[in-house]
């Protein structure tokens, strides 16, 4: 009697332990990638009018799904608030968290996450109505500030006002949609989050020109996809999928010409290694030889993804800035495919 109970206990405990197995096998077994995204931030991740998820982070999820499963449509989008995202990732609810999350020391070490890449270099700014008559963040003394709870911006905000010796009243909100609604209702004088997020929110206003983003950028916010610490193979897949998109832009591989370039080896050996026409680079990660081709076909290279979702032709109208290739004065610098 006692023995069988013990055995049963051990079996169950063993089952609980197995849940931590290789993420790639989980994804393949499920035949879908669980991707944690922002519940609604135009340009980064938001469902469009037909309910299809669109955005910069969404395109990254699609690229990872294409690289691992061969089909960019095999993604389950799981919207997560700022407060719940890391718990959801740690609990295995999502395989990768592409939810404009800032890479910080304590998140990397203490929260046991890994940030395989930085896909957007950002900084925190303030959005104010033009009518408020404020031109600098240092004039915000006594302001009521809408702030997403559970984010780095919450801590930066406290530091910024402390350093400048001015006061504020925080109004905690859960996500960008609520922030937009509270800000427009006048429940706060200013809304603060990453500058890209502010630009995105502003495009959804009826009169975007009545609102300005203050010149001060008060923090460094390297945003990137996050995975659980401990599964290095999976982290490698996420990292090199991103690197493949960046390298593709650098090497002039686009969604339009990738099929043609991958059909036969080209003159450039690096392109050949990237697109699997030379060497066994896919197998090194346990993927198909064509993994990078599929990732690039999903939504184009980094530049195409950026221009389509955030670029100057879109209502959000962000310049590449720090997010340009290193050859263009930006910070995007992928290690070589060799």
């Amino acid at each position: 009697m006692k023995k069988s109970v013990l055995l049963g206990t051990l079996t169950l405990a063993g089952l609980a332990g197995v849940a931590q197995a290789a993420t790639l096998d989980d994804v393949r077994g499920r035949d879908a990638l669980n991707c944690g995204v922002n519940p609604g931030l135009t340009g980064f991740a938001a469902p469009d009018a037909s309910g299809k998820w669109q955005g910069f982070d969404v395109d990254f999820c699609r690229a990872v799904a294409a690289a691992t499963l061969g089909d960019p449509e095999k993604v389950n989008y799981i919207p997560l608030s700022g407060e719940t995202r890391f718990t959801a990732l740690a609990a295995g609810e999502v395989d990768v968290l592409a939810r404009n999350s800032t890479w910080t020391y304590s998140r990397d070490t203490d929260l046991n996450l890994d940030f395989p890449a930085v896909n957007y270099y950002d900084g925190q700014g303030f959005l104010v109505p033009r009518a408020l008559g404020v031109t600098s963040a240092k004039e915000l003394d006594g302001a009521t500030v809408c702030i997403q709870t559970g984010t780095t911006t919450e801590l930066n905000l406290a530091d910024f006002f402390r350093v400048n010796g001015i006061t504020y009243e925080p109004v905690p909100i859960a996500n960008d949609a609520e922030g937009r609604q509270q800000y427009l209702a006048g429940a706060c004088d200013t809304y603060t989050t990453d500058a890209s997020g502010l630009a995105s929110v502003r495009t959804t206003f009826e009169t975007p020109d009545d609102h300005i983003i203050l010149p001060e950028i008060i923090s460094k916010e390297p945003l990137g996809p996050a995975v659980r610490h401990g599964d290095n193979d999976w982290a490698d897949i996420v990292r090199w999928t991103f690197n493949a998109l960046v390298a593709a832009e650098e090497l002039g591989v686009t969604s339009a010409n990738v099929a043609e370039m991958a059909a036969a080896p080209t003159e450039n050996p690096e392109i050949n290694r990237l697109l699997g026409t030379e060497g066994e680079f896919g197998a090194m990660m346990g993927l198909e030889p064509q993994w990078a081709v599929q990732a690039i076909q999903a939504g184009g290279n980094y530049g195409e993804i950026f221009e389509r979702n955030l670029g100057e032709a879109t209502p959000i109208g962000l310049a590449r800035g720090l997010n340009a290739q290193w050859t263009q004065g930006g910070l995007l610098y992928t290690p070589p495919f060799r």
């Binding site: 109970v5 206990t9 332990g17 718990t87 929260l111 004039e139 709870t149 406290a158 530091d159 905690p172």
Partner: protein
């Protein structure tokens, strides 16, 4: 010599554990105990294994670290340099504040609505029915969000209070309703204010003594003395007199709008809209349940009691206060305890309006910034458990006092 014949003693056989009723009970208990221990061992092992797999330890040390975030409503001094433990305490006090306010208001509302629902006046009783059914049958979260939306959409922004001919003005020149919150004057204790406090305490004591005297006299002679008016006079007159004699030591700090920079009120107390919304919604919602409990309690008192009271010449008001309600309380109190517990736990819906209760500080920002989910949730559960046990403990003592004394 005679040898007493001993009854033949049969050796104990293991089979008796199962088939002998003398031992079977013990066997079942031992097996149940082993199963329980095994279950607990499994859960603990599961926890240890999974924590290890995630590379996490179990440590409450994070409570001493710098919190680094700000909180909108703080009843005790708090800055972002204080520890997570203090942030949790700020949240706990905020939870207790809204729960306390909610319980008192819900009780008043509930008793009124419960009594009025039994009113012979058709309109009054139907109105109360509408109130009870509307609030009981719509989720609390919707009420909280609705009240909050009304408060923040229907009130003016602080800028509207600016300038010579401001669009908005303060109620009685004292209270400003804005879409950020309600600014009310605060009391400023001047010189001699302590004397005022002493006078107030003495007045309250005097009123209590008068009450006891009036009761004893009524029991002895049957003559009622006016209690309410005398008590009021005892409370107000000496206080007002001292106030004037000392030259108004208590003053009001009235909130005033700042005319330059960002519009905000200086002075006074800002009662956040999130607190008001949560308070009103919790009180109205729980009040509807309490109304039904009160109605049930009153209906549980036999009609003979009120008929007997009327026969003795008591008026309806006194019949209710002296005969019906004391008996109804015995039925009312036990379910009322559950409602208080519900209200306290429902206050965690504060998350919907961004009110900084303990779930938002300890179970929200602290948990998220430190990644200590297990520790935070355990502490949070412990807090709600302790508060609930205290509430039900206190209410049980009260219940025992008013329960039917059987001798």
């Amino acid at each position: 010599m005679t040898i007493a014949a001993e009854p033949p003693r049969r050796a104990f056989r293991p089979g008796q554990l199962l088939y002998d009723t003398r031992y079977r009970g013990i066997t079942i208990q031992v097996v149940a105990l082993i199963l329980l221990v095994a279950l607990i061992a499994f859960l603990v092992r599961n926890l240890v294994v999974n924590l290890h797999a995630l590379g996490k330890d179990f440590d409450f040390g994070f409570l001493g670290n710098r919190a680094g975030y700000d909180i909108g409503q703080t009843l005790i001094p708090y800055t972002n340099n204080d520890s997570h433990a203090r942030a949790a305490l700020v949240g706990i006090l905020n939870t207790l504040l809204v729960a306390g306010l909610g319980c008192v208001t819900a009780t008043v509302l509930g008793v009124l609505a419960g009594v009025l629902r039994l009113s012979k006046n058709w309109i009054v009783s139907r109105l109360m029915t509408v109130y009870v059914e509307a609030f009981r049958n719509v989720p609390l979260l919707l009420w909280i969000v609705l009240v909050y939306a009304v408060l923040s959409e229907a009130t003016p922004a602080p800028t509207a209070f600016r300038g010579e001919d401001a669009e908005a003005s303060k109620l009685f020149g004292l209270i400003a309703f804005t879409n950020r919150g309600t600014y009310i004057p605060s009391l400023v204790w001047g010189e001699g204010a302590s004397t005022l406090g002493v006078v107030l305490v003495l007045s309250i004591l005097a009123a209590l003594v008068w009450r006891a005297f009036a009761r004893r006299r009524q029991e002895a002679t049957g003559q009622p003395l006016p209690v309410l008016w005398v008590s009021l006079a005892l409370l107000v007159l000496p206080f007002a007199l001292t106030f004037l004699l000392l030259g108004a030591p208590l003053t009001l700090d009235v909130p005033t709008i700042r005319e330059t920079g960002i519009a905000r009120f200086n002075g006074g107390i800002n009662v956040l809209n999130s607190l008001v919304a949560l308070w009103i919604a919790l009180a109205l919602y729980t009040g509807a349940f309490i109304a039904e409990i009160v109605r049930g309690g009153i209906l549980a008192v036999s009609r003979g009691q009120s008929e007997a009271a009327f026969a003795l010449g008591l008026r309806p008001g006194r019949t209710m206060r002296l005969v019906i309600l004391p008996q109804a309380l015995r039925v009312i109190i036990p379910p009322l305890i559950s409602q208080y517990l519900n209200l306290t736990k429902n206050s965690s819906l504060a998350v919907a309006v961004g009110y900084a209760d303990v779930r938002a500080t300890l179970g929200g920002v602290t948990m998220n910034q430190t990644g200590r989910e297990l520790e935070s949730i355990l502490l949070l559960g412990l807090f709600y458990l302790v508060v609930s046990l205290i509430i039900s403990g206190v209410m049980n003592i009260y219940n025992r006092r008013i329960a039917l004394k059987e001798r």
